[in-house]
Subunit: 340 residues, 4 copies
């Protein structure tokens, strides 16, 4: 049965799974020190044009955000995020449990702006009086939690704002492949290490069993990262599982092909819904779309396709989230279009 609940409903893409099966019997050392992880890190550095970067393979996104932010910030420092940002809403306080305030900005379409960043920083300058937290990092996700993307100009502007204000820029790429496949995207993999101090390339939501590749470009954030990983229970014993998967992921740019497939399905669905007259909560060019349904339609769709609640629009309408993935069959999209 077709599901549009999320992009991590199935196991792994066959090429990923094959790589795991093929290497299963080999004995390697643990904790990401094996040859697969070394080669996968090299593949990341090559593909993202950052030969000097540190690469760490993590099991999931929340753990990645938590460990990187805990490693980067001093106790009195805060991270700025869009109000809809994953770290601000859906990580059950993972950042606060490390002692840091998330300063959130209500911004349109889930995209942080230089102005929003500057306003928050300025309102937290108090000489050296010490009464307020000190903003020190900006967190963005691309694609965002609302399926929108940053253009190269927008990310560059944030980069420059961060440089001017002494902030780290960290990008959550849980759905990076989907962002890169979107219409309107002009960012390339090679741009991220130029514009960000650290970022991660999502795997879990794009065909891996699990896994995210964290890239630390800024030397200041590199030392002792493995200690922070371990301290947060985020160092996988059989670390080579991540190396093996990511090697397959980057082979012939499989990751981009999977992202492209997901986006095409979502946009086909969106186009079909638009033709049927549906409006959208936000105009998102990636694999998450947010059509506005009548409450009756929403209830039916929710039961049949697993789409999730996003917002109540008015007394009789609801914005729903439909998510496609590398595993979404074109037939499923047609099935949904027929049903709505």
């Amino acid at each position: 049965m077709a599901t549009f609940r999320n992009d991590y409903s199935e196991g792994a893409h066959p090429q990923i799974l094959d790589a795991l099966v093929r290497t299963n019997a080999e004995a390697t050392c643990g904790y990401g020190r094996d040859a697969y992880c070394v080669r996968a890190a090299q593949a990341v550095r090559a593909r993202f044009a950052c030969p000097q970067a540190d690469v760490h393979f993590m099991v999931g996104g929340t753990a990645t955000n938590q460990a990187l932010i805990a490693a980067a910030l001093r106790p009195w420092e805060a991270v700025i995020a869009a109000a809809t940002g994953h770290i601000n809403v859906h990580e059950s306080g993972a950042i606060e449990t490390c002692g840091h305030k998330v300063l959130s900005a209500a911004v349109p379409d889930g995209k942080l702006t230089p102005d929003a960043v500057r306003t928050l920083v300025e309102s937290h300058l108090d000489g050296d009086d010490g009464h307020m937290v000190v903003p020190r990092m900006v967190y963005v996700s691309d694609s965002t939690e609302l399926g929108t993307i940053y253009t190269k100009a927008e990310l560059t502007a944030l980069h420059e704002t961060c440089r001017a204000l002494g902030l780290y820029l960290y990008l959550d790429g849980a759905r990076m492949a989907q962002a890169l496949a979107a219409e309107g995207n002009d960012l390339a993999p090679e741009d991220f290490a130029q514009l960000c101090d650290a970022f991660y390339i999502g795997g879990t939501k794009n065909g891996l069993l699990f896994g995210e590749a964290l890239v630390i470009a800024n030397d200041a954030l590199k030392p002792y990262y493995r200690n922070i990983m371990k301290q947060h229970g985020a160092m996988l014993a059989k670390g080579r599982l991540l190396g093996v998967q990511f090697l397959a992921y980057f082979e012939n740019d499989l990751w981009l092909a999977l992202g492209r497939h997901a986006v095409e399905q979502a946009q086909t669905l969106a186009d079909g819904l638009k033709k049927k007259g549906f409006k959208f909560y936000v105009n998102s060019p990636t694999n998450q779309i947010f059509p506005i349904l009548t409450d009756v339609q929403y209830k039916t769709a929710q039961e049949r396709f697993g789409c999730e609640f996003t917002a109540k629009i008015d007394e009789t309408h609801t914005a729903a989230r439909f998510v496609t993935s590398w595993a979404t069959a074109p037939e499923a999209v047609q099935e949904a279009l027929a049903a709505l």
Copy 2:
């Protein structure tokens, strides 16, 4: 090449891997709410005779210890552990980062005793003056970090001490199957929920790709555990990977068979070494053994078999750790015996 470095050098046991491959294409909901996790939790409750317990599937041991302890303790409370305990040494401060002191006791063979517990508790009673942390939990591992095991009488005595002193008893079963397979063991799976407030059944070190099953027997520790999991980045998106693996793990007691195999290989190695005249750092009946080698022997063995340093015994001798697993071939044991 034979390796005795650890028990997580290979991927998964074939039956585990097959289960993952077989179910790979299915779509399920995420975060451990799928039918596989529900069934696997039921299998745990049945096998461990704790129909009322909560079961959560976790990716690794450190995250399990961290989340359970963070969920159980209030800010002023501490956990008691053997000085060699995993949480005291090898988790890079995972417990302290949640705000809790680990009160450690230097005990022989890595096994905590009621006396050691009582002494620590009594030295921290200060009326209600509030100047010291309040011991509130006892952490033990079975088998221990030194390969030793608790008898039923010993664990029962700890249980009674904990009850008398108002302490939770938590058991780290990263190598529980290996403990249950050891000579001298008289604990049964059915005992743990009777004697402990919470415990986990290790999978990573016994043939799973990854995974530990946390069992919470005490109602007081159940509420909001999922929030703590998420807060620590420990909620796997494709949670069903854990359910699928644990279902296969408990089928026909595969877990016990794997533990037995590991223990047999280690004890064959130990017996052979004893016959050759080697002494041991500690007398351990499980899959970790600690022969005392000359420094020259140690260096050779370390390079060839990946065994690890445990302690310097005197100016010319070193205690090494050899670990076997479900994947250790009997030939590897003979190869090691021949080489030493």
Copy 3:
């Protein structure tokens, strides 16, 4: 020279200071276990009609908020506050450093409403999915950071909302005496323990050298509070200094007299400024007033009277904060009126 910078510019009111001098040579036990603290706690319980409450004397407000909130919340729980709330802005992340998210609501006049509370709670209900923090406490201040006050009806409505939603209600009374002295106030000291789970009675901003009296009415929040105090470095060695001061503070309701004096000076100033045509940023009936000045006037007043910046109103106007205290001379008010 007259100053309207804040209400803690001078030392202690003479009666407070005399009590300290008079008892200086006495030897007592430490850490708040002395007879002065015992009697002062009794005075608090009597004046606030809460014979069963626990009373702890703290040195300052931030430490009081931090310790109480750290004692009350579990790791996954959050506290709701007005966006202008002291814990949300001016405590340099004191709540987050204990691991808790502050969920803030943009509310008018710095006063939290049942609707704002309910909206935040509802948006954080996610079944037991565990992806979001769980709101568990409401923090209000009376008088607020904007000098406004809660009526008995308003505080009762918050109380009822909290009861209905399973939230603790905690009131920061750094300026409680000033609130009770305000026009429009209909709360009495006897109300607070009925309506709040915990609250504190401010001393620092009303004539003590330092000191706040925390009252814990809800039994659930009482255990081990002294441990939390100590853990946060908030247990004063010579605790009797707090007991001695608070005994004098409550003698013949000195505290209310001091609050009344402060409010009268501020309101005289406000009335005078209104007559001169000044508008106000917020209509506040206590000892903090917020006139809107031209930028030129603000600069002069800032230098001469130490008033602080509150908000930029438009390109040429600024809202300033003028604060009066128990020590403000009526002549100082006239001096300010003459100067503006």
Copy 4:
């Protein structure tokens, strides 16, 4: 009635109190930005020969230790202390609540040694594997919790060990004046900033109402310390109370005179007890002495003089702690000698 319970039983020395009374009516700015604090900081820098140091005035010792350590350490770093160290035992987990492990060493007489430090550091080196905390600071107290003192050679050796191993050296001087007055001491105030990265000069236990002066000599530990103070609720609103007291404290070296008086009383008591045949638990030359009493004697002394329990020596003997202070009258010493 004579008490030997502790050295913070009375209020302030008359000269300290007079200074507070004299300046009580003055209006100053808050939070330690006033002229008294500025001048007192200058007095500290002059007396301790550290013109470049940052000086912060804190209310109490636990808060000072907590804030300095929280400011200095990164999340994966640990502090080394004697097992008897205040931060290890009597701060209710104040360091752990900031996320840091205290690595304790069982050392004689409460004095840390270079060997003990080196052993702990070496056992925590694990390449960059990341499985253990990283020792980064050494905490010592002078005089120690057992009344013993460090010689200049001993502190210099610790200093050199710390430099060699990349550790900060932090000295808790809660009873520094008493250490400097002890027989055998050859440290001078001018030495501390040369040998330590940070240290504090105790006031609470030597005649102030409250207060410790933290000196940060190492530039790396200076930034944003005020934010950490505020974050831990340790920034006193009427900060000038600390400046006023410390100015009086350093005037004509009153602090040293008070420390000398305390030590003389304790040593007179110790000499008298020795003449009577009493043995001692530890040989301490400062204002804390630890005679071994019969249990009957201990019980009587405890009731009459408030001395505290230190250790059970055998079935019929107890080591008790007698503490003298600036306020101890010579007659009290004679009274105790007569009674024992």
